[in-house]
Amino acid sequence: MKTKLLLTLAATAAFTSFIGVATEQPAHARIKLATLPDKEAVVVRFDHPNVVIVEEERTLTLQKGVNNVDFSWAGTNIDKGSIIFRPVDEKSTTVVLSTSYPPGEAALTWQINATEARSEKFRLSYLMANIQRETDYRAVVSADEKTCTFRHYFKIRNWSGGQFDEADFITRDGKTFEKGLANGEAKRVLVNRWDNVKLVKEYNYDPQRQSEGKILTDYVLKNAKDHGLGAIPLEYGKVRIYQQDSAGTTAFTGEDWGRFTPIGDDMRLNIGIAQDIKVEFKKMVNDIENRRGNVYDTNEVDEYEIKNFKDGEAEVIFTLRVDGEWEMQNSSSGYTSFERIDNETIKFKVKVPGKGEPVKLKFHYKRLNNW
């Protein structure tokens, strides 16, 4: 028994490869390296939002009969249970008979049966941790703020411990780019560019988004073909926004996180505060009425005075919230349209002329059946 142990130890000491093949031998000569195959056709897929799957092909030289293939991944973080190993040729008669896992090692051994001695290409798929990905965008908005060019970048950072000398990286939307990526290295690649993308500029008053009552400037892009997008769902990512200036260059005007935007949906991007539009809020009426025992209604009037110090007219969207059971009263005024979004939320659109001329939005409502 000891003799056998020494023999196999000696053989194993020479075993430094990532993957090795040994033909099944009787007794002592279990590990007998036949090939040291390199990685071929490596593909790294990012189509799942949280998980990266790596596929690589290797050509193994197999003997007729049972072959033992050792695969180890020390120093990298591969999900052992996710490993799939199979011949590339779907009609291949070569079969994987079993998988054995040694204790305390990032390694396994496949037992493979080959019907004849030959070289055969295998594909190895596994989930790999610590390959980070980020999506970001760069929008350059036209001077009239009605269109933009929209660039989509994909950034990968390799902390996996593995090295990709030459690999195809595939994004969620199927874009492929071929790069080498060393451990610790990061790369950012332009994967899509869309021109003449329509955008809508909005001024928003929303105390839930801006607690000081300042006006938010938003761009809204629709991810649709007739708006210049709509080719792919837009991944979550940072959008940096620039605007063409009169000098023929661009200036950075703000950035925001763009949420995942399926085809047909809107992406709303806040670029900052519109300082030339000011809103002053006053509670004009706050009365209790219609008391019944411990139950009462309230009569409330909220007034918003808006001043637009720009030269031209601006439309401001007010998003206001009232809890519980309530009804808007007919004496509300100062808006061009309103929409009750849900029980708690109402939106008013208010036209505000330029040059500081004040406009008042009067929101009159009664909250019912309070106790």
Partner: protein, 437 residues
């Protein structure tokens, strides 16, 4: 090769104080492992051929550094002749060691006989795993099932017949507690396993020497069959041929592969089953219509991949599956899909029928109106099922909804590609003294 040894010694029949003499160290003729997945329990049956002298023979059986339950060790002659000539007179557990016993066996005719030693051991387990490769249209998948045997028992089992039990058995005491009592007697903590041999030696001692396949007529190997047979409330999976599972190793074998299992994709909002998320669920049945149904599917990890074309795979998700009986349906939750969304909002709330007791409110009825919006951003039709549950004394009103149970109503529909659908419903809830039940 063993790292922890079961020592089996035949001692000379002699006065109690006599010095013990080692006569034989017989190896196993055969060994069978019956491994349970619901408990840390394996039944080991091993057959050995022992030489007996006429008269009383004392057999020492010891199992240092293993996780064998001493209360379960049994001795049984094998075959009619052995049964006739051998008789177990007594079993002694010496005071000096927990991991040893001595049998006194009377033999009427000196000869070599086969005997079976059986015992329970802790530390050997098995688990099921599944790989599903879903077709690009999500209408079918290739399902491959694996069983993996894990040996942490402290003992190597070479050329063992392996049987795996699917089912939940009742044990009143854990085998690990029986295997490791503090000295002497009583329950105790798990001991560390035996020291590992050097890595290279372990690899050398690996599984390669056994055959994980059966030979065809042409001498070529194929994956081993795993035969499944029902037994009472359990299923026994018997792995074809013999397996070697060294201590601390695991070995995975394919149980079956079925291609073209019909699959249905349903987007579901069912908090009771899938949590508070509108989620994509892949569904099939463990029956013949789905090319399955030959045996129950033991609980295990299901890993789902999607066919990305050209034999390549992309990742869909993984989840822990429960035991799935034959004919039962399987619902695999692959998580939220941002390309099919649900939004629920309360569009109005009103209170009415207020009742008072001496000017204090004691009852009212609340009417809440909701709007559900479903959006399919995908380029294909999808099925959707939404459940909404309510408590208390309530009435539900909504077109297209059906009652699921006392608390729950559901809406089932098909959304075309890029379609948005809305459904409203209202819930009238009688509160306080207005409640009738």
């Amino acid at each position: 090769m063993k790292y922890a040894t079961i020592i089996f010694a035949l001692l000379l029949a002699a006065p109690l104080v006599a010095k013990e003499e080692l006569v034989t160290l017989p190896s196993r003729d055969s060994v069978q492992l019956t491994i349970y997945n619901s408990e840390d329990l394996t039944l080991v049956r091993e057959v050995r051929t022992l030489s007996f002298r006429q008269g009383n023979n004392r057999l020492q059986f010891s199992w240092a550094n293993t996780l064998i339950d001493p209360t379960s060790v049994e001795f049984m002659p094998v075959g009619a002749e052995a049964a006739k000539e051998l008789e177990l007179l007594d079993t002694s557990f010496p005071a000096q060691g927990h991991e040893m016993l001595i049998w006194t066996v009377a033999c009427t005719k000196a000869a070599a006989y086969k005997v079976e030693i059986s015992y329970f051991t802790s530390g050997i387990s098995w688990s099921a795993e599944y790989h599903g490769v879903v077709a690009p249209d999500e209408r079918s998948m290739e399902l491959t099932a694996f069983v993996t045997v894990h040996n942490n028992s402290g003992e190597d089992y070479e050329d063992a017949q392996v049987r795996l039990v699917v089912g939940t058995i009742n044990l009143v005491e854990k085998i690990i507690d029986l295997a490791t009592p503090p000295q002497p007697g009583g329950g105790g903590a798990r001991r560390p396993g035996p020291p590992l041999p050097p890595s290279a030696a372990r690899r050398a001692a690996g599984p390669q020497d056994d055959a994980d396949a059966e030979e065809n007529e042409d001498g070529m190997r194929r994956p081993k069959e795993i035969e499944k047979v029902g037994l009472s409330e359990y299923y026994i999976y018997t792995v074809e041929g013999r397996e070697t599972v060294p201590n601390r190793w695991s070995k995975r074998l394919k149980s079956f592969t079925v291609a073209g299992v019909p699959l249905k994709t349903v987007y579901r909002y069912e908090p009771a089953k899938f949590g508070w998320e509108f989620t994509k669920v892949l569904e099939f049945k463990n029956d013949e219509d789905h090319k399955l149904g030959k045996e129950p599917l033991p609980n295990g990890i299901v890993r789902l991949y999607k066919d990305a074309g050209g034999g390549r795979l992309s990742w869909m998700g993984a989840l822990a599956s429960k035991y799935i009986p034959k004919k039962d349906e399987v619902k695999v939750n692959v998580g939220a899909d941002p390309e099919c969304t649900m939004k629920l909002k309360r569009t109005r709330t009103q209170k009415k029928d207020l009742t008072f007791n001496q000017r204090w409110l004691q009852g009212w009825t609340q009417v809440d109106t909701y709007e559900l919006e479903l959006r399919n951003f995908r380029d294909r039709e999808v099925e959707v099922e939404v459940h909404q549950a309510f408590g208390g004394d309530f009435d539900f009103s909504g077109e297209g909804w059906e009652r699921h149970d006392a608390q729950t109503h559901k809406w089932k529909l098909t959304l075309k590609a890029a379609e948005t659908r809305k459904a409203s419903y209202s819930v009238t809830t009688r509160m306080g003294t207005n409640a009738r039940k």
